[in-house]
């Protein structure tokens, strides 16, 4: 059985939505009757914006449950995609942590109930199986597994790297928590109310304005809204790098290996620390300090970008260019330097 505390920990689930709905709160009276909720929603968003973290206040369960839909209402009213993504990622990280500590019964209840991780709920079964050193506790129907796992770019999430039998994919507890957390995130990103349908009473509109200002300021100071300069190199990047850059520009979450690869590659071709850090600013979980630390560390150690073979095993290789598909380069750096040479030559020829 889910408790009220569970609704506060997982305020996006169907039961929490029902709970809020039956309170029958009118948006116009929200600010007067529940000032705590408004200020908690503001606090949540401030922390999401500045630190990328969705905190949990165990002391006030009702406020915590209510603050979630209010925070989402604010996001819809602002209509900023970066904020929406950052909120969803921060929330999903919190959910993942909570889920890892939950009992099996609770996990089953949350996953199977319609409307929580998917419209119809997941086909999930608790069953222990040991394979070598790995201890699998769960099996999930492949259609549910795929609906989330295709969003991960890390090769360990490919279905072929999991035991699959009779329609079910085996998962460790940790893996299941990660999948469910991702599903929570996707659900948040899917559901949105267009800005033009939202009318807010004066008091709330003021709070929303403040958050909007915060977003603007953060973007200006931290993200610096620098468009990632993909075009400066005029197509000299190998397709794998190009692909990652395009996703970074869109603010999509890159996998750990993708981040390292991009970092090493850019440092190898002589980009400055600052320039490399800039590439990651749009990451939904961007943290300047941590990123700077990684970049500096990689620079000091002098790591070389991964070989094509290694990238292939991670599913990062995108052999859309002839040089790649014909195996004419063994490392993306070779591609870059060769292309730089060829395009330089072409340019000087056309100038003649």
């Amino acid at each position: 059985m889910l408790t009220k505390e569970d609704l506060a920990k997982y305020p996006s689930i169907e039961l929490a939505r029902k709970y809020v709905r039956q309170l029958n709160i009118d948006i116009t009276s929200l600010a007067d009757e529940f000032p705590d909720v408004i200020s908690r929603a503001y606090q949540i968003l401030r922390e999401v914006i500045t630190r990328g973290v969705y905190t949990y206040l165990a002391s006030s369960i009702d406020t915590e449950i209510l603050a979630f839909p209010v925070a989402r209402l604010f996001i819809d009213a602002i209509g900023d995609e970066w904020l929406r993504r950052r909120f969803a990622v921060a929330f999903s990280k919190r959910v993942g942590k909570f889920l890892q500590g939950e009992s099996n019964d609770k996990i089953l209840e949350i996953a199977k109930m319609p409307g929580n991780v998917s419209e119809s709920g997941w086909d999930l079964i608790y069953e222990v199986k040991r394979v070598g050193v790995k201890y699998y506790e769960w099996k999930l129907h492949f259609k549910d597994y795929l609906s989330v796992a295709v969003h991960f770019h890390d090769i360990t999430w490919k279905m072929c790297n999991h035991p699959v039998s009779n329609g079910y994919v085996r998962l460790t507890k940790r893996e299941l928590a990660r999948l469910m957390a991702e599903a929570f995130k996707e659900r948040i990103l899917e559901r949105r109310v267009p800005k033009r349908f939202i009318e807010l009473p004066e008091k709330i509109a003021r709070t929303v304005k403040e958050i909007e200002e915060l977003v603007k300021r953060y973007k200006k100071e931290v993200i610096r809204e620098i468009p990632i300069k993909v075009e400066i190199s005029g197509g000299v990047y190998p397709p794998c790098v190009q692909f990652i850059l395009e996703r970074a520009e869109k603010g999509e979450n890159l996998s750990h290996v993708e981040r390292l690869f991009l970092m090493f590659f850019m440092l190898n071709i002589g980009k400055r620390e600052e320039e490399v850090v800039d590439l990651f600013r749009k990451m939904p979980d961007f943290n300047e300090e941590r990123t700077r630390y990684y970049v500096r560390h990689a620079k000091n150690k002098g790591y070389t970008a991964h070989n094509c073979d290694t990238l292939k095993t991670y599913g990062i290789c995108k052999p859309t260019h002839r040089w790649c598909s014909e195996g004419r380069v063994k490392n993306p750096l070779t591609f870059y330097y060769r292309m730089l040479y060829v395009s330089g030559k072409r340019r000087s020829e056309s100038e003649e």
């Binding site: 199986k129 394979v131 070598g132 050193v133 790995k134 129907h141 492949f142 259609k143 795929l146 609906s147 796992a149 295709v150 090769i155 360990t156 490919k158 279905m159 072929c160 790297n161 999991h162 035991p163 699959v164 039998s165 009779n166 329609g167 079910y168 085996r170 095993t313 599913g315």
Partner: protein
């Protein structure tokens, strides 16, 4: 190679008789499907066609007598809409395509031909990068089919079915195998769980079945240290999915007379291969036991096992063509229609009948005889129990109607 008028007329009249005399069944949920047709006298395809009733469907086939007929794997709210946005995609069967053309078979070197479009030089086997005579790169390939390549394709179908049944838990009655009427087979899965899968999700299933992206460490094949010693541990026959498939495939490879050939191809050093060859039975026993023992041979470390594993994975993966599965708007051949390049029937086969199915017999429908003249070299082929050819350019021969249709449709012969 254009066919002459007389040829087209004969083919069309034979197709017409077929559609008139047979009540072609409608595919499941036919009113939500898009249909496509190619006609004898027009270039291009008629798309976005829909039928509201079975009668309308049959009348269309009998009146238009299509050269090729297709239907969508998808169901739509409005299949008639001219663009994909307007159609309202509701779901699609999961379709797999196995095409003999994309499999490496020895018969290709015998029956496939190429023609240089610039100087007309021809040759046998796969087309060269450049014409051997004039060095032109514009070369047409003329592919043929025979028992060997279609049997290779059938073997891949069996591999695919094994994945669908064992790993994906799909039941036999949810699967339909269809001989395409030419070079291969389609496998249709009609099951609630797969209906709404996105393109990306379908691609992931293709990757699973073709073994793309496997890291053997994730299947449990790793080196661990304990008590200052290193051990190799790995999956066994009680494992699931690719772990079990890997063990089964290695056992099969080590039990096969081609073991030496397989090992040489992996690039493992000669002296290691010698160890493995001498101990082949020991390997089979060790991997067949539960838990399996991977650590039995002195000098065979984890990297050698990884080499063997990737060869074993290739052997047991099914070679399916990704684009057909991933494209959720794709038109596929209509079951029971006739294939315009062979005159063979697009034939659904139940899983139990697949082993016995003979495309050169069971997909043949025409009876009677007719004389044709060959306008191209025609390799040997079989219809039913009779083998025909090879025929030389200019040769006149009287052939049974099915063979006539086949050679006319393949455009190597024409009517006198």
């Amino acid at each position: 190679m254009k066919s002459n008028m007389k040829t087209v007329l004969l083919l069309k009249s034979l197709f017409e008789a077929y559609y008139r005399e047979n009540d072609i069944p409608t595919p499941p949920h036919f009113s939500k499907r898009e249909f496509g047709f190619m006609l004898w006298d027009k270039e291009g395809m008629i798309r976005h066609k829909t039928f509201y009733s079975r009668t309308e469907f049959l009348t269309f086939l009998r009146k238009k007598v299509p050269k090729n007929a297709y239907r969508s794997a998808a169901y739509y709210l409005d299949p008639e809409a001219q663009n994909m946005e307007g159609k309202g995609w509701v779901g699609a069967d999961l379709i797999f395509d196995i095409d003999a053309d994309h499999l490496t078979t020895p018969c290709k070197e015998i029956h496939d031909r190429w023609i240089c479009m610039k100087c007309g030089t021809t040759g046998i086997g796969k087309k060269p990068a450049r014409c051997l005579n004039c060095k032109s790169t514009v070369i047409n390939e003329v592919s043929w089919i025979c028992d060997q390549c279609l049997n290779f394709a059938k073997d891949e179908v069996f591999k695919l079915l094994d994945f669908l049944f064992d790993d994906f838990g799909i039941s036999e009655k949810e699967v339909k195998v269809v001989y395409s009427g030419h070079r291969g087979y389609h496998v249709h899965v009609d099951n609630e769980a797969v209906k709404e899968l996105s393109s990306d999700e379908r691609r992931e299933i293709v990757d699973y079945i073709s073994g793309t992206g496997i890291k053997v460490e994730n299947l449990g094949l790793i080196e661990v240290s304990a008590g200052g010693r290193k051990f190799i541990i790995g999956p066994d026959l009680t494992s699931e999915g690719w772990g079990k498939r890997l063990v089964k495939s290695i056992i099969k490879v080590f039990s096969s007379p081609d073991l030496d050939k397989v090992l040489i191809e992996t690039g493992i050093p000669k002296r290691k291969i010698d160890i493995l060859l001498v101990n082949r039975e020991k390997v089979v026993t060790a991997l067949s036991s539960v838990p399996s023992r991977w650590d039995i041979l002195q000098g065979i470390g984890i990297s050698i096992w990884k080499n063997i594993a990737s060869a074993a994975i290739k052997k047991t993966a099914a070679q399916i063509d990704e684009p057909v599965t991933v494209d959720i708007h794709r038109l596929i051949r209509l079951e029971h229609s006739l294939h315009g390049s062979t005159g063979f029937r697009v034939t659904p086969i139940s899983v139990t009948d697949l082993e016995r199915f003979d495309p050169f017999k069971d997909a043949i429908i025409f009876k009677g005889e007719k004389e044709v003249i060959f306008k191209e070299y025609c390799p040997e082929f079989r219809i039913g129990d009779e083998v025909f050819g090879p025929y030389q350019k200019g040769q006149k021969v009287e052939l049974p109607l099915s063979a006539v249709v086949f050679t006319l449709a393949k455009a190597v012969a024409e009517l006198l």
